[in-house]
Symmetry: C2
Subunit: 222 residues, 2 copies
DNA sequence: ATATACATGTCGAGG
DNA sequence: CCTCGACGTGTATAT
């Protein structure tokens, strides 16, 4: 990895065109050909290129080209504060825990958290318009489709479950099909949409429940 | 900005939990409190924290905490290859060309690209369920709502313009309101949705048109 | 501060 | 290979 700290101007041309006037930045060149330009603020690079790329350096102009997508990043170096290559080794991979998939599993084991009498028939049931998170039957035996959101639900989440319901109605010609969105919190527009489309909003912060109880104790809640 | 090149192990706990075993990485600490951890591959940080944060360093353990979202990034430093602070200055802002916003402006100047006789009444017209990209009237005088996508349109884009149409019908009690999606390309699901909901799909790659002609020559196309 | 939509989104799973 | 939805999404903009 090469770490270049410099004052520079940067241009990008590819999916769009960007221009960044002169200023100090930290530029990382990695062995896989990827490049990341960090400005002084923000967690994400202000400019970047995915590898593989070809890097050409003519004097004070560094030109990074990515043939696969015909993108070019051009860095005009005006002053070098620091420039060093590091021979580094890293074989570790990032391990994640606590994704939406797990959420479904926990809810599938404790559907009463959503509603008394609810029974999960199938998880991730595939339809023509996408997978339904939880395909259920309620206490009255009605088909009930549940879309689970780990974070705040927005209008799009309501649209999503409405699509599933339409498809379910078409393919199964069932009497009434209910549509639910389960989320820790709902955006105002989502509430409006849900009311308009007859979708039920269930406020339920499963990650927090899991944190407060043990992962195996979800059945304790009601 | 502090640039730390080191062998380290990293843990993140917040919206989920991640763990990264020992390896060499480049860590950037910025003045705004944000932190970016770069592994040896990939343009984007493998771990990161948005600012503002508090950073505490006890011996070989660096703990970054973000109160706003109760997230913690923990870096256990095993070996320091390089560690340096740089006093940097950068007041430039990234200028982008070709964003969706600009597309609206161009289309507003050349609405005939969408359809002959179309007239733009208002851009970014606000409704209770979101802003309508282009609020227009067609040659026959009918209200016509246009949703513009810079990239391939998916089902959600169709849902979006349908929301706007519903709202328009409710608030204005207009006769017939047309709904259009303009995009360089449409996903099959989007086509199906559009047909089912009576939404028209207009294939139009405005960025390419702009690239082929000059930005001021859009009116030449028909 | 909150709410909303964009993004060079990027990434991974499923058919 | 394509199609799709999730993402620790992050980030800017408008209310």
């Amino acid at each position: 990895v090469r770490v270049l700290v410099c004052r520079c101007s940067i241009g990008y041309a590819g999916r769009l065109t960007t221009r960044l006037a002169s200023g100090d930045r930290v530029v990382l060149f990695k062995e896989d050909g990827s490049v990341a330009v960090h400005a002084l603020k923000g967690a994400k690079p202000i400019n970047y290129m995915a590898g593989p790329t070809s890097v050409r350096e003519d004097d004070d102009v560094i030109r990074i080209y990515r043939p696969a997508s015909d993108e070019t990043l051009t860095i005009v170096v005006e002053h070098v504060h620091h420039d060093q290559r590091h021979g580094l080794v890293d074989s570790a991979v990032l391990e994640r825990e606590g994704q939406e998939r797990e959420l479904h599993e926990h809810l599938a084991r404790a559907p009463h958290l959503i509603e008394a009498g609810l029974a999960v028939v199938e998880r991730e049931r595939l339809t023509d318009v996408g997978p339904v998170d939880l395909w259920c039957r309620d206490a009255a035996g009605r088909v009930t489709l549940v879309e689970v959101k780990r974070v705040r639900a927005v209008a799009a989440a309501v649209d999503q479950v409405v699509r599933y319901r339409e498809q379910a109605l078409r393919n199964e010609s069932l009497g009434g099909v209910r549509a639910l969105v389960v989320a820790p919190d709902f955006a105002p527009q989502a509430r409006v949409m849900a009311a308009a489309r007859d979708v039920e909003c269930i406020v339920l912060d499963v990650p927090r429940l899991l944190a407060e109880a043990g992962p195996d104790d979800l059945t304790l809640f009601a």
